[in-house]
Symmetry: C2
Subunit: 154 residues, 2 copies
């Protein structure tokens, strides 16, 4: 189900210059599994807050300290493994293994994934303007999702 198995997770960490520890692998796998299959009408939560990460890991039987989660997401973000998004009033983290993109509704907070395929080369012109390289850039669209717009228009 997950796009990332234990083996890949390990390699990813090594390549990213991050020491491989049980805790870090766990965080990585959890975030990977959050991506899961995408068959739901409304995508499930792909981004998790530090607290959610900790809670879910503990619920899954892992033994990890909250402080470690904080340190881990910080390290991961610096290594470019994660991507932080402001959702409602919390910072949530999503896997950034492959550049991918999001649309975040400013009203309901829902995060919709946009695959690079869907985006095609519509991104390149936009990046040109910024000087960022498309290799490691991600785009987040903030706005009203279609359903919230309907509600608010009423």
């Amino acid at each position: 189900m997950a796009m990332l198995d234990e083996r890949r997770a390990r390699e990813l960490l090594r390549r990213s210059g991050v020491r491989r520890t049980a805790q870090r692998v766990a965080v990585l796998l959890l975030l990977a599994s959050a991506y899961g299959a995408e068959e739901e009408p409304r995508p499930q939560q792909t981004h998790l807050s530090s607290r959610q990460i900790h809670d879910q890991l503990v619920a899954g039987g892992a033994d990890i300290d909250p402080a470690t989660v904080y340190r881990t997401v910080t390290a991961f973000e610096h290594a470019g493994l994660l991507h932080a998004t402001a959702t409602n009033r919390a910072i949530t983290y999503g896997l950034a293994v492959t550049p991918h993109h999001h649309a975040v509704c400013t009203h309901c907070g829902e995060v919709t994934e946009i695959s690079p395929d869907e985006l095609g080369d519509r991104l390149a012109p936009l990046l040109e303007v910024t000087g960022y390289s498309s290799a490691d850039a991600e785009v987040t669209v903030h706005g009203l999702c279609p359903s919230c717009r309907q509600i608010l228009d009423a």
Copy 2:
């Protein structure tokens, strides 16, 4: 210097269906002034955290409670006046009077503004994919800014 004077701020609040109070006008003006002129080689900070907003207002002689700032940014964000971005480890807020766009460096946290003009119609095709309307959508690019990429490549 600011793109927003007292008069405009008031009108903006009214149109947004937000009650006009001294505190809210102050927050709005502060964020507007954060935009300032854009002549610096490195853009100054255009997005502020709740704490920064409070500190700067107090430093400027205003009398406002931290709790009010929290409530205000929440209200503003809902009204579509602000836009939240995850920067480093904090949520920061920037004015969203006119849709505008950002590039956030995941390494140094710097936020670069992209004007709608610069973007031209490069945005529309991207929004098509999401179903979001271009009227109220903003784009944030996350990645390595050119200078951080150089540093990290070394």
